[in-house]
């Protein structure tokens, strides 16, 4: 049972480039989330999804897009990367019953 799998683990982007951060879970969880983690700032919610085909903005959605075509996958798209998007990105999922999140191991992104 893999849990939540994020790829890639590391990536360096140039300003203006685009990329997709992949997230997949094999626990049949309906709820999925994308957070970014910056030093001393905790985790900030970017986007979330309550099921396939349903997504909504979190606290810091600007510069990002998501899609949820299947229960398993929840990719995060960065368009026109900016240095402010340098961060560690975490994907998480949960069953929807009020239990805790299961997090992936993260993607460390640097925009130069």
């Amino acid at each position: 049972n893999a849990g939540v799998t994020q790829t890639p683990k590391f990536r360096i982007l140039k300003i203006g480039q685009s990329m997709t951060l992949q997230c997949a879970q094999d626990m049949n969880h309906n709820y999925m989330y994308w957070y970014r983690q910056d030093p001393g700032m905790g985790l900030k919610l970017i986007y979330y999804s309550v099921g396939a085909g349903i997504t909504d903005k979190g606290e810091v959605p600007n510069g990002y897009n998501v899609s949820r075509s299947t229960t398993e996958d929840f990719p995060l798209r960065l368009e026109l990367a900016a240095p402010s998007q340098t961060s560690v990105y975490f994907c998480a999922s949960r069953t929807g019953t009020g239990d805790g999140y299961t997090f992936g191991s993260g993607t460390r992104l640097t925009v130069v």
Partner: protein, 114 residues
């Protein structure tokens, strides 16, 4: 608006001592309060959680104390060990809202010296 405020930012404790991390929240609709533990290079992992209908929950060496009237909750780590050295995050959510999304505190970096 910072809805969950965590302190201290960093904490150094001797092996065998008690580590205490505090959180305060603003939104009275929050009804789920978990703590997460994060080791370097890893994602956060759920450590322990509490609902507001109880004032304390204990799991092994980890205890959450919850004060609803003060809108505060804290994590106590008894007999702290070097292996407990990690970053700890408190969080809160309203289970009834869309996505039941968690709001996190800023994190506390705990170091337990041998």
């Amino acid at each position: 608006q910072q809805q969950v405020k965590q302190s201290p930012q960093s904490l150094i404790v001797q092996k065998g001592g008690i580590s205490i991390i505090n959180c305060a929240y603003e939104n009275t609709a929050f009804d789920y309060f978990p703590w997460y533990q994060q080791f370097p290079g890893k994602g956060p992992a759920l450590l322990i959680a509490i609902r507001p209908d109880v004032s304390e929950k204990k799991e092994g060496r980890f205890t959450i104390s919850f004060n609803k009237s003060a809108k505060q909750f804290s994590l106590h780590i008894m007999d702290s060990q070097p292996g407990d050295s990690a970053t700890y995050f408190c969080a809160a959510s309203n289970i009834g809202t869309s996505g039941s999304r968690l709001t996190f505190g800023e994190g506390t970096q705990l170091t337990v010296n041998p």
